[in-house]
Amino acid sequence: MIIRVAVIGTGAERDPVRVDLPNYGELTADPVTGRAFVDVPNLDVPDGVAAFVRANPVTDLVSPLPGEFPPSLARQWAEHLARRYDLGTAKWHPVVA
């Protein structure tokens, strides 16, 4: 599904500007707002996060989110990715932004 998320990284060779997800494709990004629209496999998005994204639609990289992304959903997403990709180590901490 398509999600607007925060980017991380300094842009250095070993710390590229990127999205904190194990599996995504960038559709468009804005280095000023620090946001990107990315295409994420549905299997990587827990139901709660998917419901939040559907309930808080955004159409550009500038407008604020209609609702705040709850820390509980951020934790849920990180734990979901840890189970699916790296044997329990919470390496990725994506945030809907």
Binding site: P16, V17, V19, Y24, Y85
Partner: protein, 142 residues
């Protein structure tokens, strides 16, 4: 009396719940930027992946005022943090619509936790570049 073995050969990889996965980044008129990851793929737990095709192409669509390096680089980071560059396409020309291509096929077998990244970079001042970076792989039960 007939004697037979109960041993059954394991199915070949593409018959083990295989799924085709692809990544693509295609963007025109991209301004100079620091190193940016355009897509990444990580092999999920319990799976493996065979990378069958990579493709990259860049060209300048608007000449820079000060030319410097622009590039696409694709690299693998194994689950134990070994990095291997598998494709790199660079330009150091200010000429527009001069195309630079690179491709690789059947290059890597990835295990769970291995990652493949596609980064772009343009250190010029002004101008813009068009990028295409594609991946095709088959993911299957390890």
């Amino acid at each position: 009396m007939r004697v037979s073995s109960y041993a059954v050969a394991r199915p070949i990889y593409y018959d083990r719940n295989s799924a085709t996965k692809g990544k693509t980044y295609q963007a025109s008129a991209v301004a100079p930027h620091t190193t940016t990851t355009r897509w990444t793929y990580t092999v999920p737990t319990g799976k493996a992946a065979y990378v069958e095709a990579l493709n990259a192409m860049i060209y300048r669509d608007v000449a820079p005022t000060v030319v410097s390096l622009a590039q696409v680089i694709i690299y693998i980071v194994s689950s134990d943090a070994v990095t291997s560059t598998v494709l790199q396409v660079r330009t150091y020309t200010s000429a527009t619509y001069t195309f630079f291509y690179g491709s690789q096929s059947n290059i890597a077998l990835l295990k769970a936790g291995d990652q493949i990244y596609a980064n772009t970079f343009d250190n010029s001042t002004g101008g813009s570049v068009t990028y295409t970076v594609d991946l095709k792989l088959t993911e299957f039960d390890a």
